[in-house]
Symmetry: C2
Subunit: 324 residues, 2 copies
Amino acid sequence: MTVTLKEIQDAYQRIESHIVKTPLLNSPRLDAIAGRRLWLKAEPLQVTGSFKFRGACSAVSALSSEVLERGVVAYSSGNHAQGVALAAKIWGARATIIMPHDAPANKVANTEAYGARVVRYKRGVESREAIGTQLATQEGLHLIKPYDDPHVIAGQGSIGLELVDQLRDAGAKASSLLCCCGGGGLSAGLATALHSLAKDITLHTVEPEGFDDTARSLSLGERVTNATEQGSICDAIVTPTPGELTFPVLKRYAGPGFAVSDMAVLNAMKVAFDTLKLVIEPGGAVALAAALDPATLPDDQELVVVASGGNVDERVFQQALQFG
Amino acid sequence: MTVTLKEIQDAYQRIESHIVKTPLLNSPRLDAIAGRRLWLKAEPLQVTGSFKFRGACSAVSALSSEVLERGVVAYSSGNHAQGVALAAKIWGARATIIMPHDAPANKVANTEAYGARVVRYKRGVESREAIGTQLATQEGLHLIKPYDDPHVIAGQGSIGLELVDQLRDAGAKASSLLCCCGGGGLSAGLATALHSLAKDITLHTVEPEGFDDTARSLSLGERVTNATEQGSICDAIVTPTPGELTFPVLKRYAGPGFAVSDMAVLNAMKVAFDTLKLVIEPGGAVALAAALDPATLPDDQELVVVASGGNVDERVFQQALQFG
């Protein structure tokens, strides 16, 4: 199944009554700091604290009652986990979630609180894909991949449907959108929606420095892999390589990707605290970090930024509060 | 001028294109912690970080061009200051703001950043009302009071217009609303809107313990004064006595008021960080704090909570993060 506007609209119809239509925020003080007008789509306010709930609801709601009866399994550093756990609960399925040993404590606790069984694995040593496939086979569970799943991509793309309306209502004149990127489910879905509904807006992916597989893959025209999966504070978007389904979409529709430092990310989190009163997690703040850097794009341009999630431990958030 | 639904609707028409229609948030995890369904109106996401921008825009937009030409003056611990400063800038008037010596640094800095002249006074020693009146007379400025002004009350009441629609869309079945209360501008405006549009919802004021002049005044049927104006972390809502214009409205339309401890407030701020990804300042979190206390109202009831602002120094926010 190729994801087109039709699949995104269908997904939105299935999930609309369960998700938050997140606001498009702006702030005169943020604009003053950025030196340009910024519009921020606030997905930390999404149910379960990140956009991943959209894709999870889309995927779970597309399953037959027989499959729901057997249950679902997912691997995730945390946000997809919480999304699938709650979506499964809503549609009456049991969920098993495979999470890395170093996943933030709050993400593990929340996933369990939504009623899911959590299985841990050692990131960088064990393969979560292999564990997921094995559990799916052994227990007859349906595997919901975090980004290489058309229904997941379509669900994430629903952000684009809301965004296009909200930008028009706000009178925004942005021609670039910055989007946090891990495996590319969000950016591929969003780029697909923009391609149909707002061709004048170009999506750029943003990743942590040293984990910019998508930016390098886009530049080379083929999928490359990061040297390591460990060492970034942006746990939510550290993936080894762009997705099989997502990369061709990004190659077709997205502009060059950017990368930002951990320091720039912590600073962006502090700026969002100060000016937007929004809690953003490190992986969710990379796009805002790039937007605050005048070197990213010509500084007279309005920019749209997606803040993708807010599930951050208080210890990490305290590091950000010490900035600025 | 008595404020009725008509004045609130007129105010909304003047300010609608300048304010954020703030989302009504809920969260399964918050509901689990509260032991009941909660709906939270997120005014920290309002422009300038608090609901005060609504009332300030309403008051400034109602002024004649001659009055705007001379300029406006306001006294405020911070949120009304920021609201008036930005509203004045939007409508092309110069603003002078009288702020207490112990106002949070970020509120002072923001007020100046919006282009206002800031004059400091010693809270508990000097009278901000006297300084405001004197400046108004000397310099021909128009004084915009923080709550005892019909246009301000009507502007704050605009929250009620949005809320009634949002609660209906969400299928909420709440019969009680908890609202942070300082001088009563927000609660009087909101109670007036609810009285016309949602008679089945009773508004209750919430204040800090030791500063519960409204709760005690409602209980006695006449305006009483707090023993002190100092010593609460809830700087935004520490006012000595209910307003002259606001109290009769609350006496008529509001249910009994509640009071909460500083500890309960810090805990509520942490819960909002964890479950809603929303930054709430102490004075803005008293209603959520009351909602989290099972002793406040029968715990099988759905509740609506207004979070009124998010302008908190990082030092105070760090105290909250250490909770729970």
